[in-house]
Amino acid sequence: MIKLTNLTKIFRTELIETHALREVNLQVNEGEFAALTGPSGSGKSTLLNILGTLENFDAGDYQLDGKSVKGLSDAALSRLRNEKIGFIFQSFNLIKDFSIFDNIELPLRYRGLKAAQRKQRIEQALELVGLHARRDYLPGQLSGGQQQRVAIARAIAGTPRILLADEPTGNLDSLMARQVMELLEQINQQGCTILMVTHDPDQARRAGRHIQIIDGQLSDTMLYEPFAAQSA
C-alpha cells in the first residue's frame, strides 16, 4: 500500500544542504509490522514524516494506495492524514489541559463525526488500551506508559490503515515499553499496518520486518513474513 520510488529529501539551510534521504525505494504491504532502525540523524524521522505527509520531498514519488500524494491540496492531504494515518510520537504529544477524552476526540472532530459516533469510537479505543476508567483525567495525572497508551488510543480511534510510530517507547522504562509493544502487536493483528522507529534491537526483532537506514539510504532490508500473516 506504500510505495516509494527514488524518494529524495534535502534540507537546505543558508549554510549547508543535508541529504536526509537519498533515492529511497521502499514498498510496504497491507498488514505489515515494520521496524525502522538506524543511527541518530540517519533520516528515520524524516522518512516517517514524509510517509505521514507532514513533510514534502524533493524528488521521486510516494504512492499511497496506488495514488501519488504529489500535488494534493492542503485539504486533501489533511483528509488523508485524518482518515488513513495515525501518529504516535516519542513524547506522546497530548494536550496537557485537555482531558483524556478530549485528546482522543481531536482527530474525530476534524473528521466531522457526530457526537454519538465520536463517543462510541473513543470508548472503544479506551477499552482497547485499558484506560476506560481514566477518561476524565488530565494527561499529567497518568504515568508515561499510560500517556503513551492514550496517544495510541488517539491514533487508532479513527481506525487508520497505517500507524506511524516514532520511537514510541523511547521515553518509557522496559516494563511499560513491553506493554506498549504488546498493544501495537495486538493492533497489527487486527490488520493495521505499522511502521515503527526504534533503537531497541529486541523490538526490531519482534517486528515482522526490519528496515535499516544509514545516512539516508535503506542499506539493508531483511524480509520476514508479515506478522499478521505469520500468526494467521
Partner: protein
C-alpha cells in the same frame, strides 16, 4: 453550533494556559482603542451635519465694507447694523435673520436672586431657518422690537418649574418681558450658526430676544464685536445702530442655484455702490459661505484637532503593533499544538476557524475594555475641556463603527500570528 461552542471552549482553554500575556494583550488593545474611541466620538460629533437637508441652502454673507484700504484682507466675520440693513434689502432669500448672543440675568420678580442666562438676540426667521421646534406658544409676529421672549425648555423648567408658561411675566436684566413661546428639546450639534465666533460647540441659548429690542436695550455681543474706526468704545452700545459697532451674524436661506447666483450678484452690486459712495476703499472681497463649509472657513482650531486625531491614530497603531507582538509570542508558544492538530488531520481552513473563535473572544473582551477606557477618556476630556462636553454622546451608527473597528483590530492582532503558527514546518515542533 456544537462545533462553534467547542472552538470557543478551546480558545478559553488556551487563554487559561497563559492568562497574563493574554490580559496584557487585551489591556493594550483596550487602551489604544479607548483613546481612539474618545477622540473619534469627539471628531464624529464635531463633523456631523446638524441640518443635512439645509446645510447647503443656508448661507453666511460677508463683505469687506471697512473704512480703510486693505489688500488681501478677509472680510470681517461680523457685520454692523447698517450693513445688515443693506444686505437685507433684497427679496432673493426665502428667509433671513441677523443675530448675536449676549449674557444676562433672569428672574421672576425682583425679590428673587437672579439666574445668569445666555440670550440669543435675533429675528423671526431664525426659528424656521434652523428648524427650531416649538413646544408651547408662538414665535414673534414680525421683526419689530417688543418685550416678548421665548424660553428654552430647560430655562422654563428652571425658572417656573413647568413648561407651559406662555403669557407669564418675567424679568430679564430687570426689564419686564412676557413669555410668548417655549421651545421643545433642541440642541443643534454643532451650533453652526455661531461658528464665526468659534462658539459653536456650546449649548443652546436659554432665552430668545427680538433683535430690535436687543439694540434698544444696548446689549453687546458676548463673543465677537469689532470696530474699524476710533469711536469711543463707551458709546458703542448706545449708538449700536448708527455707530461703527460690528457684532452681527447674518444668515440667508437661498434654496436654488439661481437664488444663490442672484444673491452673489446683489452683493457685488452692493459692494460697487459702496465703492461709489466712498465707503469701500479696499478691493471687493465678498464671501457667501454655505453652512456646510462654515467651520472650515473659520477653521482656526481644526489644526489642533487634526493633530490630536493623528496622535491618537498613531497611538492606536503602536498599541496594535505591541498587541500583535504579544499575541505572536502566545501563538508561537502554542505552535506545537498547531502542528499536532495538523498531524491529526486538521486542515488549514479548520485551524482558521479556530482562529476566528479566538478573534471573536478577543473582540468581546476588547470592546468591553475599550468602551470603558473610551468612557473614562471622554469624562476626562469633558473635565479638561468643559466646552466640548456636548460632543461626548454615543449613537448607534457610531457604536456600530466602533464595534467594527474593534473586530478588525482583533482580527489583525490574531491573523498574522496564527498564520505564522499554522504554516510552520510540522515535523520540528512535534519532536520535543
Amino acid at each position: 453550533m456544537e462545533q462553534f461552542l467547542y472552538y470557543i471552549k478551546v480558545s478559553l482553554v488556551s487563554i487559561k494556559r497563559a492568562p497574563l500575556p493574554y490580559a496584557l494583550t487585551i489591556f493594550i488593545l483596550s487602551v489604544g482603542l479607548g483613546v481612539f474611541f474618545a477622540n473619534a466620538t469627539f471628531y464624529y460629533q464635531l463633523n456631523s451635519d446638524p441640518l443635512p437637508a439645509k446645510s447647503n441652502k443656508l448661507f453666511f454673507p460677508m463683505m469687506l465694507i471697512t473704512p480703510y484700504d486693505c489688500n488681501d484682507c478677509r472680510p470681517p466675520r461680523v457685520l454692523s447694523y447698517a450693513n445688515v440693513q443693506k444686505l437685507a434689502n433684497s427679496d432673493i432669500p426665502s428667509a433671513k435673520a441677523a443675530m448675536y448672543s449676549a449674557d444676562g440675568y433672569a428672574r421672576l420678580s425682583s425679590s428673587q436672586p437672579p439666574t445668569p442666562v445666555v440670550i440669543r438676540i435675533t429675528q423671526r426667521d431664525f426659528f424656521a431657518m434652523f428648524d427650531v421646534p416649538l413646544l408651547h406658544g408662538s414665535f414673534w409676529a414680525d421683526d419689530g422690537g417688543r418685550f416678548e421672549i421665548l424660553l428654552s425648555r430647560a430655562m422654563a423648567l428652571k425658572l417656573f418649574g413647568r413648561t407651559d408658561v406662555v403669557g407669564e411675566q418675567m424679568l430679564l436684566d430687570d426689564k419686564h418681558f412676557s413669555v410668548i413661546g417655549v421651545l421643545n428639546h433642541w440642541q443643534m450639534l454643532p451650533r453652526l450658526y455661531d461658528a464665526n465666533g468659534r462658539n459653536h460647540l456650546s449649548p443652546t441659548e436659554d432665552i430668545f430676544l427680538p433683535l430690535e429690542t436687543g439694540y434698544d436695550l444696548h446689549y453687546l455681543s458676548k463673543t465677537n464685536s469689532q470696530t474699524f474706526d476710533s469711536t469711543d468704545y463707551r458709546k458703542l452700545s448706545t449708538e449700536g445702530r448708527t455707530g461703527a459697532l460690528h457684532q452681527l451674524q447674518y444668515w440667508v436661506q437661498l434654496d436654488t442655484e439661481t437664488q444663490q447666483q442672484a444673491y452673489r450678484q446683489f452683493m457685488l452690486n452692493l459692494a460697487n455702490d459702496e465703492k461709489a459712495a466712498g465707503r469701500h476703499p479696499a478691493p471687493i472681497n465678498n464671501q457667501l459661505t454655505a453652512m456646510r463649509d462654515i467651520v472650515s472657513y473659520f477653521g482656526d482650531e481644526s489644526g489642533d484637532i487634526q493633530a490630536f486625531a493623528l496622535v491618537t491614530l498613531l497611538f492606536l497603531l503602536v498599541c496594535l503593533f505591541n498587541a500583535s507582538h504579544l499575541s505572536l509570542n502566545r501563538y508561537l508558544s502554542n505552535q506545537y499544538e498547531f502542528s499536532l492538530r495538523r498531524a491529526l488531520g486538521a486542515s488549514r481552513a479548520q485551524l482558521q476557524l479556530q482562529m476566528l473563535a479566538d478573534v471573536l473572544l478577543m473582540a468581546l473582551f476588547t470592546i468591553v475594555g475599550a468602551l470603558l477606557t473610551g468612557y473614562v477618556g471622554i469624562k476626562l476630556m469633558n473635565h479638561l475641556l468643559p466646552g466640548n462636553s456636548l460632543f461626548s454622546s454615543w449613537d448607534i451608527p457610531l457604536l456600530l463603527s466602533l464595534l467594527t473597528i474593534t473586530l478588525v483590530c482583533s482580527y489583525l492582532v490574531t491573523l498574522y500570528p496564527s498564520l505564522r503558527a499554522s504554516f510552520g514546518t510540522l515535523n520540528q515542533q512535534l519532536k520535543e
